[in-house]
């Protein structure tokens, strides 16, 4: 795989990724902050669907021996500390590292500041990395996947996990239909819009 073809594949995949992020509305600050305030569940719906789909796809590809898995090592201190800081950042940015770029593409100007802040955060970490990796944050328990604990092959665990996620999603949708969560301007902002259902019906009347 040459560098040039990797870049072309990256752009092509990114366009599809960005398209799906935009269409799902999950890139909207209103949806992301709404999720973190437990008022809007579109982010969880997109996320869990993508995880379940990925699990099915990888169960097939790995089960038939086409690809090797590439899980990250379990580093519990780093996962917890880093995850908490990352989560705080997601709430304040109203974005995650990937959706920041979707916000820029969609025209949100504040996302440019998120991007620059992100680059500064990555560079600051880079300077600190040689020191931090010698602390507990560098402790690794190796590549662990849940199916190992259960003594079952990955593909079986992944399919079971996807089935559980599908049930969770059916429950989520029954509890909170996604159309009711979009908001008047499809940005997850539901203020002053009691007429959501009819607005959405017009939107989807095709």
């Amino acid at each position: 795989m040459s560098l040039t073809s990797a870049i072309f594949i990256g752009i092509a995949m990114g366009v599809v990724f960005g398209f799906a992020l935009e269409k799902s509305r999950v890139f909207e600050p209103g949806i992301i902050v709404g999720q973190m305030q437990m008022r809007n569940f579109i982010m969880l719906k997109v996320f869990l669907t993508a995880v379940a789909t990925g699990a099915v796809v990888l169960a097939a590809l790995n089960g038939f021996g086409v690809v090797k898995l590439a899980p990250k090592a379990a580093m519990y201190y780093a996962d917890v500390v880093g995850g908490l800081i990352l989560g705080a950042g997601i709430a304040l940015a109203g974005a995650c590292p990937g959706t920041t770029l979707a916000q820029i593409g969609a025209g949100y100007r504040d996302a440019l500041f998120t991007l620059v802040g992100g680059l500064a955060g990555a560079v600051t970490y880079s300077y600190a990395e040689p020191t931090l990796s010698k602390t507990v944050l560098g402790q690794s328990s190796g590549k662990l996947i849940f199916s190992q604990f259960m003594g079952i092959p990955y593909w079986a665990g992944a399919l079971g996990f996807a089935a559980v996620l599908a049930l969770v999603l059916v429950g989520l949708e029954t509890w909170r239909p996604w159309r009711d969560e979009l908001g008047r301007d499809v940005d997850g902002d539901s203020t002053g819009s009691p007429a959501i259902p009819s607005v959405v019906q017009t939107l989807f009347a095709e």
Partner: protein, 171 residues
Amino acid sequence: MLSQKAWSPYAAGIVIGLLQIPAFLLIETALGASSSYVTIGGLIASWVDPSVLKIDYVARHVAATGKNWWQVALVGGVAAGAFISMKMSGARRAAISPIWSRALGSASPAKRYAVAFLGGFLMLFGARIADGCTSGHGLSGMAQLAVGSTVAVAAMFAGGIATAMLLLRRV
């Protein structure tokens, strides 16, 4: 379909999940986004401080490998894809989402820009400690049943929920 303003989150989620196929088959890696900030950030930092490239962590990320630059191209493509999708649906966005004046209790763009910068900083500082973000740990790690990734995702939601509940006002 391409000109719709919104797709069902399930349809969009399936499209995103299917992207693991080309990622694993062609690039031999999983979907991710946050490493690319080290690649680009490290490169920019090296213009000011060339010695940053002597840090092994930075050197690994800026190296001209397919994986590094595939991910940079991926996030660049995300911006392009969102732009195209937006143009096709005719949706228009204000420069700042209307939720922020409520969430921050202030309509000042300067305040929002400062909070966005801080949010971005924490996001990437945290993601680099955890060695992954919502994509790498979330989409890819959980699909692979990775134990560490599941812990990281739980922490992300815990940190996000606590911050949004305590520091932001109701949106």
